[in-house]
Amino acid sequence: MNTMNLELDQQSFFKKLSLFDWLWAGLVLVGTVFAYQKYASLMDAYEKGILVSAGITLIFFGWNWKTIRGLSIAVFLLSIFGISRYITGLEDADADFFLRFLVSSQSSIMWMSALYVLATVTYFIALISRSEFAGKVASAMTWSATTMGLVGLMVRWRESYLVGLDVGHIPVSNLYEVFILFSIITALIYLFYENKYKTRALGGFVMLIIAAAVAFLLWYAFERQADEIQPLVPALKSYWMKIHVPANFIGYGAFALAAMVAVAYLMREKAKQKKRTNGIMATLPPLEILDDLMYKSIALGFSFFTLATILGALWAAEAWGGYWSWDPKETWALIVWLNYAAWLHMRLTKGWRGKPMAVWAIIGLFVTLFAFLGVNMFLSGLHSYGEL
């Protein structure tokens, strides 16, 4: 008769955290407290709430996805460096070497753009040549691009205050800025899944949409001078913008990711049908994994899109006098929401899988794209900022 030896380190969540985890928490906490002490007098109660929640979110985020810590620290250091190079004013951007070539928002965003495009190419090279090294390089490029993009936004935030103290605002207020946000968020969601599923094969597909966003961004900046910092119209001057817009772009980013995974799914399936087991497409993850990833991505997008739309409604109630006005942007948000709600219902209750769902996810991206861009281009309404 032997006794059982059951060794379960029955520990609570907090006890499982390592020294580094606590160090991370401490670091973010110090930063948050510092920001609070220094700037609380300039914030309203909601903005204080947002600051504290942002700190807490960053701690948990860093605990659950360790790589994000490195990213945060890199962004922090580079941003602080960039901001500190501005001494006399905005004109330093042309005079200072570092600002001019690295850390002014303009330069950072150019770096971001270049790196995202290079990463796209490199991911495809990795896929075709089946080179692990190329894959690692592509990942590193994506991480660097994301870092530079975030630095660009942070420094731009500061630059907006250099334009004028009353002009300063968080850089999520127009189409140019949210395109940067979109690229960053889509890349981050992708990187999360890359890490989780241990595959870089999807990188090229996902980065394609980011490269397209970058192409638009560059056209928009060079052709329309959209990169110029403009003061906010009165309707946008609200703390709601700080939460509504990022939540929305987590949704858009996740939907975009789902659609690109769907493209990969369709190609993989085609390869399977033609029994091409040695082709490039065969190196993609198995169909059920792609299907699962597509679902997870849409679920994530749907959750945040729901949140964002509701936040938008609450904001509308404060700014426009009603939580719902059937404004074209609102209505298209509803259409996007209904579309993905139907998608999720088909999958979860009817058990639809595979090809039709992949095709639908791609159609979903076009619907989303119209809500995001088309409404501003073709329809008039209350959401008239960010016109093309």
Partner: protein, 658 residues
């Protein structure tokens, strides 16, 4: 019979709660929503008639396409969505809620063994020990576990993620709440009242107190969203709700006074904030309430939300100077008017009506100078001149001269309808900064006797044209000037085209233009002389430029359409604050619904329900061998669950083999 009835209601419930209906409704709602965004909603009916023609206008009107979101069929879709979702909740919620609490201890061994995530061991460990270990492992993975003593077996049943079931209930309940709340706050109730003949929109533009009772909504109307424009220093106790092709008047239980309205600007010129100082006079309260509202910062008073929505002119007083543009010697006349006022006037024996519609203190226009994006070009006012037939042209006149290509002009825009862009008359500014010289020049050109005299002088001085007497020549010159006054150089060209054979036209036009310019030049010099300007050194460049600009402007007067030019001399600015006032009792359902929706969605996706069972059953009493079956099941995210199951299985493996 009874059985039949219950069968019918059963199948009705089945239909209403079916996924197919739900999906159909979601799609129908999307399509309807798309229509509403593609076709601009709630425009003036006349715009739609122009767009679609009378036939399709009527068809679309009957379909309710001009206000899709309150059309009957749209409300029906929403109603069925609520019904379908409610039936779905009714059918599934009890099951779901039970499922949340149940550990499925009644499950059979066969079922467990049939799961794809299932593993069986045979072990010599003691039952108590195994029970204990099973519960520990399950709890370690976040499962809550229960032990059941069965008939000849023991079962440890574990479950986690009950939240996803709650998520289902919350999200679907939320949809029902949001839709009902939205219906309350939408204008479905007004629609119902209109259909039963209790209300009817007013279509005429008349003062609020003259609007008849059938177009008025009393305090018993609890849900509305209307607007009112209140001039500074004035009050309002009603608001207006746009309704179909007219409006309704909503009474308020209090009076709103706008003390002051302010616009602040960034130094680039774009508006930074709109603010109103309000005073609420409530007969139920002894004291008045003073509050400043701005965009994004409304005042919530007694369930009424008061928003800063827009602004307009509140009847600014304007002092105008009317310069005659036709006929000879008339002196300019001063006129006092205000925005919103109509003035009848008799001009050159014709009846006209001046209707001033707007005044703007600032006009932020793109700047010409490099380095500056915007420039404030100062005040402007907008008005219509209506002739005796009732036809009107619209004008936009700027008070201050505006620089264009090095020279200053007084601008007056004119257009035939609001759909057109303004075309501008550029009246050049004289050395004194006014329009006096231009008007003198214009008047001199209308002095026919003087023109003839100048023409005679010119005719005698220049080499004589053959076969034309000087008298004929001066008559011809006068005709030229008249043509020019009517429609500029173009009129002259046209005249030549109709009277002169084509091969000679170019020459004739050249001669005419030269002669006309000479005459105009003479007239202009006369005007300068009258001003007392010394012309012995000739005319300097700025005065030459003035001449060119003035000639162009005079040539355009024929198309200007108004017999007078109104110059804005002085003003007293008075603004009106556009307030939007809403009452939305439905939000008491919508907001909790929203909270439930967010919570529900996140629970559904991020707290997936998973179950694990450990079945313990003696194989053989003598050998004390026990069969252990570990099995698991998850409704969603099976791939993730498989990973978790493998981990649990490995732990059992190592525990059992120790």
């Amino acid at each position: 019979m009874k059985k039949n009835a219950s069968q019918t209601s059963d199948s009705l419930l089945k239909f209403l709660g079916s996924m197919n209906l739900a999906i159909t409704l979601l799609v129908a709602l999307s399509v309807a929503a798309i229509i509403g965004t593609v076709l601009q909603q709630n425009q003036a009916y006349t715009d739609y008639i122009i767009k679609f023609g009378p036939f399709w206008f009527e068809v679309f009107k009957q379909l309710g396409l001009y206000d899709v979101y309150s059309a009957l069929w749209f409300l029906l879709i929403l109603f069925f969505l609520v019904l379908s979702t409610s039936v779905c909740i009714y059918k599934n919620a009890p099951k779901m809620l039970r499922d949340m609490r149940e550990y499925r201890e009644g499950i059979q061994l066969k079922t467990l063994e049939s799961y794809s995530t299932s593993h069986t061991w045979e072990t010599l460990h003691q039952v108590e020990e195994l029970q204990d270990a099973a519960q520990k492992i399950l709890r370690y993975h976040g499962f809550s576990a229960r032990l059941k003593e069965g008939d000849g077996y023991q079962l440890v049943a574990g479950m986690r993620g009950a939240g996803s079931r709650l998520g289902y209930v919350l999200t679907h309940l939320a949809i029902v709440l949001i839709c009902i709340g939205g219906l309350i706050d939408g204008n479905a109730i007004l629609k119902l009242k209109e259909m039963t003949g209790q209300i009817s929109p007013e279509t005429q533009n008349i003062p609020a107190d003259e609007v008849s009772a059938i177009s008025r909504l009393g305090m018993d109307n609890h849900s509305f969203r209307g607007s009112v424009s209140v001039p500074e220093g004035s009050r309002s106790e009603v608001l207006f709700i746009n309704y179909r092709d007219g409006y309704l008047v909503q009474d308020l239980p209090f009076t709103i006074e706008v003390k002051d309205f302010r616009i602040e600007h960034y130094n680039t010129g774009q508006p930074k904030s709109f603010e109103s100082d309000l005073i609420i006079h409530d007969p139920r309260e002894e004291e008045t309430l003073q509050q400043t509202i701005s965009v994004n910062h409304p005042l919530i008073y007694d369930g009424y939300s008061i928003y800063q929505a827009s602004f307009s002119d509140g009847g600014s007083k304007l002092g105008l100077k009317a310069w005659p543009l036709v006929g000879a010697r008339y002196s300019p006349k001063a006129i006092k008017t205000s925005v919103g006022e109509d003035i009848k006037m008799n001009l050159f024996n014709q009846n006209w009506q001046l209707e001033v519609s707007d005044f703007r203190l600032f006009n932020i226009n793109p700047a010409e100078e490099p380095g500056k994006k915007f420039k404030n070009v100062g005040p402007s006012f907008q008005f219509k001149m209506r002739d005796k037939t009732g036809a009107a042209k619209e004008y936009l006149n700027y008070m201050l001269p505006i620089k264009k290509e090095g020279q200053f002009y007084f601008l007056s825009g004119v257009r035939g309808s609001p759909a057109e862009n303004f075309r501008y008359l550029y009246v050049p500014m004289d050395d004194a900064g006014g329009i006096n010289r231009f008007m003198q020049f214009l008047m001199a050109l209308h002095d026919d006797a003087k023109i003839k005299e100048l023409a005679l002088k010119q005719g005698n001085g220049a080499q004589k044209l053959p076969s034309e007497s000087t008298e004929q020549f001066s008559e011809a010159m006068l005709r030229l000037v008249k043509l020019f006054r009517e429609d500029g150089f173009d009129a002259m060209v046209k005249q030549v085209e109709t009277t002169v054979p084509s091969e000679k036209r170019k020459d004739v036009v050249d001669i005419y233009v030269r002669m006309l310019q000479q005459i105009l030049g003479e007239v202009y010099l006369g005007v300068l002389k009258a001003e007392g300007i010394d012309l012995s050194q000739g005319v300097d460049e700025s005065k030459a430029q003035f001449f060119d600009a003035a000639s162009t402007a005079i040539g355009a007067i024929g198309r200007y359409g108004s017999p007078v030019f109104f110059q804005l001399e002085d003003f007293e600015h008075r603004q009106a604050s556009g307030l939007q006032i809403a009452r939305a009792p439905g939000k008491n359902l919508v907001y909790p619904g929203c909270a439930m929706l967010i919570l529900g969605v996140f629970l559904m996706f991020y707290a997936p329900q998973q179950r694990l069972w450990v079945w313990l059953q003696p194989v053989d009493r003598q050998e004390k061998k026990i069969k252990l079956v570990l099995a698991g099941n998850a409704v969603r995210n099976k791939i993730d669950f498989k990973k978790k199951f493998d981990e649990v299985q490995a732990q059992f493996e190592s525990a059992l083999n120790s």
